[in-house]
Subunit: 100 residues, 2 copies
Amino acid sequence: MDLKLATEIGKCLSNNPRLQILEWLKEPEKNFPPHETLKHFNDGVCVTYIQEKAGLSQSTISTYLTNMEKCGLLIMTRHGKWSYFKRNEELLRQYAEFLL
Amino acid sequence: MDLKLATEIGKCLSNNPRLQILEWLKEPEKNFPPHETLKHFNDGVCVTYIQEKAGLSQSTISTYLTNMEKCGLLIMTRHGKWSYFKRNEELLRQYAEFLL
DNA sequence: TCTATATATCGAGAATTATAGATATATTGT
DNA sequence: ACAATATATCTATAATTCTCGATATATAGA
């Protein structure tokens, strides 16, 4: 973890909706409905559910999730036409360690 | 630690100079000269030394440090005409815990 | 292939942040 | 009280971020 990456992570964490999403994804099964097709939360939650819960536009949420994935905060898995996002706990631990 | 505070902390951590300052303050004695008047680093480092090392204007650094102090990331102690800033390790731990 | 659904990307205007210089305030020493 | 030094605050401009609607791409099913 270097300063540059840590700053990028900080940018993702500096905005209310993004931070809220990261919190929701701590417990997907408590915060989101079960997906009709996929029966588990192993790979997280699809964009539409996150978008609906956040109440922002589809493009905004898609951009947020993509950005968070680019700096490593989220891990994306594609299943058919859905993109699932889950937290990257390992990177979060590294970031927390960097701060302390 | 609630979402609102965590977002404010994230904002402080989302900018290179501020994050760098927080890193420098992990080891003040390695990153800053000893102060002429105060002989220890118990309360951190004065604004001028941080400003010189960061290479940004006095007003910018003063604003940054004040903002970081307001959200609790830094602790300020006034000694005569100098303001010393040090890390608030306790809040950093709480923030790290919030993220994980 | 055509249609519907899910997600991603593009382009733009509004809002916020970064940063500086000027000025104000606080403290110390003469 | 006055001068010097350290820090804080004010004001303004440039840069970045926020957020959206429009559009493009990808996938699945009829």
